[in-house]
Each structure stands twice: as C-alpha cells, then as structure tokens.
Symmetry: C2
Subunit: 348 residues, 2 copies
C-alpha cells in the first residue's frame, strides 16, 4: 500500500520547500523554469493530486452541492438528480445526496450534518412531514449562515430562497383540457390532500380547466388520497369506490400509480378506455409508457428541472456575496404525451 503523495512528501523528495512545490505546480513565475519543470515532471510521474479536504478547509469552499429529497426509489426524483448531477459535473461541483424518507427529523439532521462544512449550498424538496408541521427553522438556519438554498418541486412559502417548480397547475389544466376537447364532460380527479403542494396545484389546474369550458365542478368528483407517493390498500379501495360510484367519462390522476389502478378498476367494471372513460395522468414514466393501454400523460421534464436548480445554485455560489439578494421562481413547462388512453381531439 503506497501512501498518497502530498506537497510535503514531494518537497522532501526533491529537497525543496513545500511552498516551492505548490508554486511550481501552479506555474508561479517566482519559481525558475528549471525547478518548475523538475517538480511538475515528478508530480506527473507519481500522479500527484491535491487533497480535496485540505483545499476545502483552506478555501472555505467545498465545491459540493447537498441534495435532500424525500425518497430515491422514485422515478421523478431520480430524473431530477440526474439533471443536477449533469449540471454540477459540468461546473466542477460534486453532489451529495441525502434522503429524508419524508421524515422531518431526518431532514433536519441531514441539513445540519451537511451544513457543517460539507457543502456550499442546498437543493431540496421538502418532506411531507415538514410541510405538515410547517417548521422551517432548519432551512432558515442554513440560509442565515449564508448558504444558498434552491427548493424544487415540493416547496414552501416564506423562505428566502430560489424555487424551481413544475408548472403543476398549467400541466394539470393541459391534461384535463385535452380530455374535455376530446369529448369528456364528467371528469373526476384522483389527487392528494391539499397540504402536498403539488397535489393542491394540480387540483387547481383541474378546476381551472373545467371552469374554462363552463363545466361546473363537483366535490364528489374530487378524490383526495393521503399519500401521493405510493398506493396503499386503503387508497386502492377508495379509488375503486370512487370510480364505481360515479358515472365518469374521464379520470385525471396526479400520478401514474393512481392511474394504473384506475385503469384496472375501469377494466374490471367492463368499461373501455378510452371509449367509455378517458384516462390521463400527471407524470410520464415507465408505467404510462408501458401500461396497456398506454397512458396519455403530462410529462414533467425532471432532468431539466434538476439542471435548472443546479444552475441557479451554482450561479449564486459563484457570484460575489455582496450582490443584491433576489430570489427567483422558475417554472418548468410540462408537455402532454398523447397515448392510447384518450380519444383524439377533432379540431374544427
């Protein structure tokens, strides 16, 4: 096992001082051509690479972005991470990912941990529990220490930070409008409780679309489930009842899982998709693409979101500190991917 090279060991080996080595490697004109070449050749030969930790300490800059997300076994979040990773890499930043598992305590712990020198800034999507508690002291604390924060997807108000959002409302509206245009008149929505911001916004988009076409909203056609991230048996049951007891000709869901289950239920009732009931879901992932019938979906472009969030953060990190603080909110456009679960829109 060979020990890693350090400036010290190189200096000793070549009989010069540490600072000479450092300067030579950074091409300082203070060091003679001859010495410089000798040191650089030696460093190259033994593959010297400066120690990141020492550099971080010295520069008070880690070139690392901390990402905190509620869960990682989740297609959308992974696409966002992928985008963050790309943008970070291109700008010479590292990425540390921590999971909150949707728990407030873990979110706080992770932030504190990373804030103690490990990262220069944060990109996060707040956990469900944090949203319910409305306790954001951990966010304010890191911001107070001068670390920039960018929130994405699941954001909260009243924090001094940038935000990157899927245009959930417009996306949902787009999906529901498509159904209306294709002939649906009694459209139900399977969404989440309002404290989950994305659920609330998608519900609003749904209502907006109905309103635009003069269709009256009906509370009975709005099903709000507890958990937007997975499909419990209880949720399955509620979806079954919802579809069975309402004579719908269209269903919009805020995620793929709800849609897939709705599809099953509709099938079991002997109804045809899309002839009897159209189905559109928010989120375009593997399930929408490969389900039978494949599902028309509102695609969220998570990768673009991640890139944008990272680029905003890096920008903050690289700009002089005394600059006027301004916080932006960026919306990432959605697009509608038409598949087999909706009828075609006949244009006039």
């Amino acid at each position: 096992m060979k020990r890693k090279l350090t400036l010290k060991s190189i200096a000793k080996e070549l009989g010069v001082s540490i600072s000479t080595v450092s300067k030579a490697l950074r091409d300082s004109p203070e060091i003679s051509e001859e010495t410089r070449e000798k040191i650089k050749a030696f460093a190259k030969l033994y593959n010297y690479k400066p120690n990141n930790i020492a550099l971080s300490l010295k520069n008070r800059k880690t070139n690392t972005i901390g990402v905190i997300i509620p869960q990682i076994v989740h297609h959308f979040f992974t696409t966002v991470i992928y985008g963050i990773e790309q943008e970070a890499r291109e700008n010479n930043y590292n990425v540390i990912i921590c999971l909150s598992n949707n728990a407030f305590d873990k979110e706080v712990l992770n932030m504190e941990l990373l804030a103690n020198g490990s990262t220069d800034g944060f990109i996060l999507s707040v956990s469900k529990e944090t949203m319910m508690k409305e306790d954001y002291h951990h966010l304010n604390e890191v911001i107070d220490q001068g670390m920039p924060v960018v929130m994405f997807d699941r954001v909260v108000e009243g924090i001094q930070c940038d935000r990157v959002l899927i245009d959930d409302k417009a996306g949902a509206k787009k999906g529901v409008t498509h159904m209306i245009r294709s002939g649906c008149r009694k459209i139900g929505i399977i969404t989440s409780e309002d404290y989950v911001s994305v659920g609330r916004l998608r519900t609003e988009g749904y209502l907006d679309a109905l309103d635009d076409f003069g269709i009256k909203a009906d509370d009975k056609l709005i099903l709000k489930l507890d958990n937007i991230d997975d499909l419990s048996d209880k949720s399955k049951k509620r979806i079954e009842d919802f579809i069975t007891n309402n004579d719908l000709d269209g269903v919009f869901t805020v995620n793929e899982l709800f849609a897939v289950h709705a599809s099953r239920v509709i099938n079991a009732l002997g109804k045809k998709i899309p002839d009897d009931i159209s189905l559109v879901c928010f989120t375009d992932g593997q399930l929408s693409e490969h389900a039978v019938p494949s599902l028309t979906a509102v695609s969220q472009h998570g990768e673009e979101m991640g890139r944008k969030a990272a680029s905003i953060l890096i920008n903050k990190l690289e700009s002089p500190e005394d600059e006027e603080e301004e916080y932006s909110t960026t919306y990432i456009d959605t697009s509608l991917v038409e598949r087999e679960s909706t009828k075609e829109v006949t244009r006039r």
Copy 2:
C-alpha cells in the same frame, strides 16, 4: 448573516484558549468543572457544531462512502442506494453518489475525484464500457492507496475487493424451473450479450434449469440484445422477430422491459398469457407489478444488497488496518413472485 461558530471564536468570547474549549467540549478532566460547564453552556446556546472538513483533515477520515453507479434513473439501483443510505446513516457515514453513465472515462474521473480525500472507501457497480474494455487500473489504484472497495451487481474478476452479488444464476434457474414445472417445454430467453456479467449469469441459470429437466438447449431460443438497461427500437424489432419466429410456450427475460415488450408482442400475435405462453422476468419492479397481466418475477432485494455492501465496507473501514486481508463474495438470495403471467404448478 451570522458566521459559523468555531473553537477559536468561542475561546475569544470566553477569554480562554482554543485547546481549553476543545477539551471542555470533549469532557476532559484536565478542565475544571466550572470552566467546562461554562463553555458547554455557551456552545449549546449558540449551537456549536464542529466543522466536518477540519475534522476530516485532522483525522484523515471522512466518514463518507463513495458510491459509483452506471445510472440512477433505474429502479434497481435506487433500491440499492436506499439500502446503502440506511446502513450508512445508522453507522454515522455519509454517502456521495456519482454516476458513470456507463462511460469508462466518467467512472475513472469520478473515482479519482472522490479518492482525493473525499471518501474513505467505495461501493461500485462497474459501467458497461469498463467491462468491455477490461481496464481496471482506476480500481487498482484506489485499492493500492488503502481504500477498501466493495463491488456489487456488476462486478469484475481479478480485483482485490469484496463483492456482493445477486445470485443471478440461481435466480434465473428458479424462474425457468417454475415455468418448466408449470408445463412449459419450449422456453426462450431474452438476455444480453455475455460481457454484461448479470446477463451471462442469468443465461447460465436458464441453461442449468433446462439441463436439470433434460431439456436440450437450442441456440435459436436464446436472444442476446446489446443493451440490458433500455429498450431500443432495434431491440424491440429483434424481440418481435424472436417471438414470432419461434413457437415458444414460455419466455424468460433478464429484465422487466424486455418482458413488457414480449407481452405486447405475444398479445399482438393473438396468443394468451399464460395459457399459450408463460412469461417470467428477472427484476421485480413497478412494471411487473402493474402490467396487465401482472408478471411473475424474480425479485432481487436491492435494498438488502445495498445494506450488505455498506455493512461490509464499513466493517473494513473500522477494523484495524494490519488485519489479514481477505475478500468475500456474498450472494443475495432472490425470490420468485408469482403473478398472472405463469400457470400454477400442480404438485404431485
């Protein structure tokens, strides 16, 4: 913006030396009860937390695990990461995740980057390109520097490291055996080229199962596709031809995507699953669960794999260095999840 507290600033504030503060906070008996209490109270009040970077430098230990995977938008890898995260957290380790995007150069770059002080050890699944090139100098280099490495899932031979593997061969055998027991006799396999270790092993398991029941293998019934991670149009076409041109009564696939497409093709041919053709795939994910018909699958327990890999690595990191080096290979058992795509096995 308030600056982070340091030992120095506390010392100044309280009119004592830095080392007194350090010792007081670590409950050293060298410091008088009175002073200790005063310092601890102050630190608590202003929420002092030692700087991780400084600690890492001083201790030459980062308490961070570097994870390098080919891609993150991939259900199986995320389950593994989830397992790694859990185990790491429980043992006070951080996790840095880097993506190689299946590219050799990025894998090398990431390793070099993380090896320069950022992590104490690595958990990795090698990229496809690395496997093809058979160039492992980057692995040997970090191992040479005394950093332990644990490879998982996509591993290579001849490296001094621990390995955690899904028992791919046994898993595939389990799946194929189930099909045979349920009555299938002409079973095809859709797999990957042999340089992808998991593909090769699953093919071997398939052959083993046939052999056990005295069924002769037929090269024509083995379809090897280029890419095991996604489904290109070319792959789709080859699957279509494969199923159309062979009169199969069972299909085993090495991943979900191949199976889902096979299912479509079988449907399009007017054949019934499982009555005419049974279908089993390796990997139990969202698609298997929610496809129609739902797919019988060999479940890989990625989370357990991640936990195991992390636990092995942490163990190495915490054990005295001079210990005899021994490298283990751990197999994570698979289990068969029976669903709608196979017939029941009638037991004698």
